[in-house]
């Protein structure tokens, strides 16, 4: 279907090659997963398949791409796009029309289909993604997951034989992601589509993948092979390159490092469960590896919300919500899209005035704190870091807060130096913040907040769209800030992150807190997880699967917890054995 030989591509203004000597063969009906750190040219590769590269992007291309026997260089884009359809990551930006029907027929109209035939294809495409009821809906009324499904249907209308998904779930909440994956799976089952996936939420998808291709930072192909080959034999390299792996594979790798059970690499919960069920755990030790619950009954909370309610257009977004956040807490606010998380966070920094109730920061009503003072007490890192870039260079961006604080030039100089060093962005100091990579932009936005010297930091979806490496760097930073005594509040969908870093969790559902307590306890409470439409971290699913065999497996949710539990059990076992 697709044959790529020695493909190189450099964007017109790019400093280096985005793709560097790629060779790849994809057969009919295969499902290929393309992995790589951000900026590694995965998307560029996808664009060469439907001819947008080289036809729409200026740049230097060498090597060959054959798609269904056509050479991409010599074939017009519209011929190639009929064979290869791509769903991109931002659903909002991909829509051309304002309603579903128009969107689906858009490609058919461009290709001059007669109206009768369009009707037929319209119905066919919508039923393939199981969205026939949505035919007369407005685009605005759709959720993120529904939007991506409609965009997929819009491609299916021209019956492409190859479908490419370029991080289609990057902007979706866990439920939307799951919903979209189900559709992708059903495509694999019912049709003979060749599917190319660029994705890093791997756990729910791994079992449909035939082959994994890993592309490195330099745009070269690092490894290619079946999932178990790639995640088994090359795990160390993937981790080093900062590439996401299935959690079970990470666990297997961790276990191997600790010399526990060197089995094959399990790629799904069921396999992992089979491998681990015979291992014994010591009852006491399974609860180790978890510590530092901060009591919420603190008398002087850093932040307090009292009976907060907020309505918008007669819809109750937040209803009678109360919360106390202790100093030094690492709190995660979780819940489905539309549960009121961001609205709550906006109340905390006085972007929104509450309809009822009050928010106190260090005992003072936020409404009584002037904007300037408030910004020194509590920081808010927005989802898109660019929204908070207000200066021309990285350096100015970092220092303007200090100048506001009245620090001396000498102090600023030394602080700047150490900060640039700490975030490894020294070479970019004189450059525009917009020139940084996605991960660096995020770090810079956190750093900017720190210059204002706040004790409380709120982050909205801090790990959105980042590769493993930059998201680890960011979380390590947050952990160290937390240890320095700062209160961290994150809004997130990422349950693995919650399991690993959060001390306390508030679960929101329809504007109310339905759970408030430790992350560890939350993951044992299946009722709450279900009610808030949270998808538990994959390893937690594993632990609940294992708990059928041994109660002590229950509630383990990170590789570290598993390793700790098994390690102490092993030492105990061997001690007992030697007696």
């Amino acid at each position: 279907m697709i044959e790529v030989t020695n493909l190189c591509f450099k964007y017109e203004r790019g400093s280096k090659h985005s793709l560097n000597g790629i060779d790849l063969k994809i057969g009919e009906g295969e499902v290929i997963l393309v992995l790589g750190p951000s900026g590694s040219g995965k998307s560029t590769l996808a664009l060469t398949f439907n001819g947008l590269i080289p036809h729409s992007f200026p740049g230097e291309m060498s090597g060959m791409v054959h798609v269904c026997g056509m050479e991409s260089f010599k074939t017009p884009v519209y011929e190639l796009t009929q064979k290869v359809g791509i769903v991109f990551q931002d659903p909002e930006a991909q829509f051309v029309s304002m309603n579903v029907e128009d969107e689906i027929v858009f490609a058919l109209e461009n290709l001059c289909y007669p109206p009768e035939k369009m009707e037929e294809r319209l119905v066919e495409a919508l039923s393939k993604v199981d969205m026939l009821d949505y035919r007369y809906r407005d685009v605005y009324s759709l959720s993120g997951g529904e939007k991506q499904k409609i965009l997929l249907a819009a491609l299916m209308a021209i019956r492409p034989s190859i479908l490419i998904f370029d991080e289609p779930t990057a902007n979706l909440d866990p439920m939307g992601t799951l919903e979209f994956f189900e559709t992708v799976k059903s495509l694999k089952e019912t049709d003979k589509h060749t599917i190319i996936l660029i994705e890093h939420k791997l756990d729910d998808l791994i079992h449909i993948i035939d082959r994994v291709v890993v592309i490195g930072k330099e745009g070269t192909k690092l490894v290619e092979g079946t999932p178990s080959e790639v995640f088994g034999e090359h795990a160390a390299m993937l981790i080093q390159e900062g590439i996401w792996m299935p959690q079970t594979a990470l666990l297997a790798n961790k276990l191997k490092e600790n010399d526990i059970n060197s089995c094959d690499v399990p790629l799904n919960i069921k396999e992992a469960c089979e491998y681990l069920k015979n291992l014994k755990l010591h009852p006491e030790n399974s609860k180790n590896g978890y510590s530092g619950v901060v009591s919420n009954d603190n008398l002087n909370p850093a932040l307090e919300v009292r009976y907060l309610s907020f309505s918008y257009d007669k819809n109750k977004i937040i209803e009678n919500f109360s919360l106390k956040v202790a100093k030094g807490d690492f709190l995660a606010i979780v819940g489905a899209n539309g549960a009121g998380k961001t609205t709550l966070a906006k109340h905390l920094v006085n972007i929104i005035r509450p309809s009822h109730g009050k928010v106190f920061i260090e005992g003072k009503d936020v409404l009584d704190i002037p904007t300037k003072d408030l910004s020194h007490k509590i920081g808010y890192v927005f989802q898109n870091p660019e929204h908070q870039f207000i200066k021309n260079t990285v350096e100015e961006q970092l220092t303007f807060g200090l100048e506001l604080n009245g620090l001396s030039p000498g102090e600023i100089e030394s602080w700047l130096d150490s900060t640039l060093e700490r975030f490894r962005i020294k070479p970019y100091a004189k450059m525009s913040p917009y020139m940084l990579s996605h991960g660096q932009k995020r770090l810079l936005s956190v750093a900017t907040m720190l210059t204002l010297g706040q004790d409380i930091l709120i982050l909205d979806e801090p790990t959105f769209g980042q590769d493993l490496k930059s998201s680890r760097e960011l979380l390590a930073l947050l952990d160290s800030l937390n240890q320095e005594g700062k209160t961290i509040i994150i809004i997130t969908h990422d349950m693995t992150l919650v399991a690993k870093h959060a001390k306390n969790v508030v679960v929101m559902n329809a504007g109310k807190a339905i759970y408030s307590g430790s992350a560890h306890e939350l993951f044992k409470n299946e009722e709450i997880l279900e009610k808030a439409r949270l998808t538990p971290p994959p390893l937690l699913k594993l632990s609940s699967c294992l708990s059928k065999y041994d109660e002590n497996w229950k509630g383990l949710s990170t590789p570290e917890e598993f390793v700790n539990a098994l390690k102490s059990a092993n030492t105990l076992n061997s001690q007992e054995g030697s007696k």
Binding site: S56, V77, L111, P114, H376
Partner: protein, 273 residues
Amino acid sequence: MKFFYYDESFLNKLNPLSKVIAPIPIFILLCMINDVWTPLAFIFLTAFIVVVLGKIPVTKFLKISAPILVFSVSILILFLFATRSELTAGSPVLFSIGPFNIYQISLYAGSAIALRIYALLILALPFSLTTEPSNFIRSIIQNLNLPYKFSYGVMVAFRFLPMMETEFNVVRSAHKVMGIADESGVRSYFEKTKRYSVPLLVNAIRIGERTALSMDGRAFGAFEERTFFREIEFKKIDWIYIFSFWTVSAIILITLYLTGLMGEIGFYFGSFG
């Protein structure tokens, strides 16, 4: 953001272009007629069309036309105090407020201008309240033979507006939490413009690029022509609407002229007297 109402009313079924074409002659005529009765008659005619043919609820109609009314009334008040002196000469004083004399002619001229503005603005409502923007663009492409590549650009731009509005609000709050308050003054005005426009532009370009990719990926611009799923034709009811509108308008105008209610015709009020 929604201007149009999805009701299967008579106006919804019309070709958007006929809703544009019908009022154009009246638009021009209204600009030249200086009495009170003509605009008033067309205000009632338009209200009738919107409420009966467009099935727009009366309350909705009043709500939408309220700001236009406020605007017109403020013009009237302005006129009461500031009419040209050659006009007021010889006109009886109606009443006085402090040092200001309010002349009869001022009231008359003010009402005429205010009603004219009200009528002109309200004439666009049958179109704007019952037309889906994308249908309008489709009808331009299909009936006026405009190149579709250009017109689709306009349509996508229209889709962008609400996105940019959301973006703007986010950027504003993002800056606010950093302790940067929006101060007034000329200098901070420029500073503010720059601070807002850079992130907005960067994002607009990014979104635009993605939209372009998505369109090209679905064979946009493959051929010079394209077909349309929904053909928007100029049907019989469109001609009927246009001609009935013109006929009724003509009757109104002739009646007013014959009964002598229509004043002198000219672009400026006061070309007489």
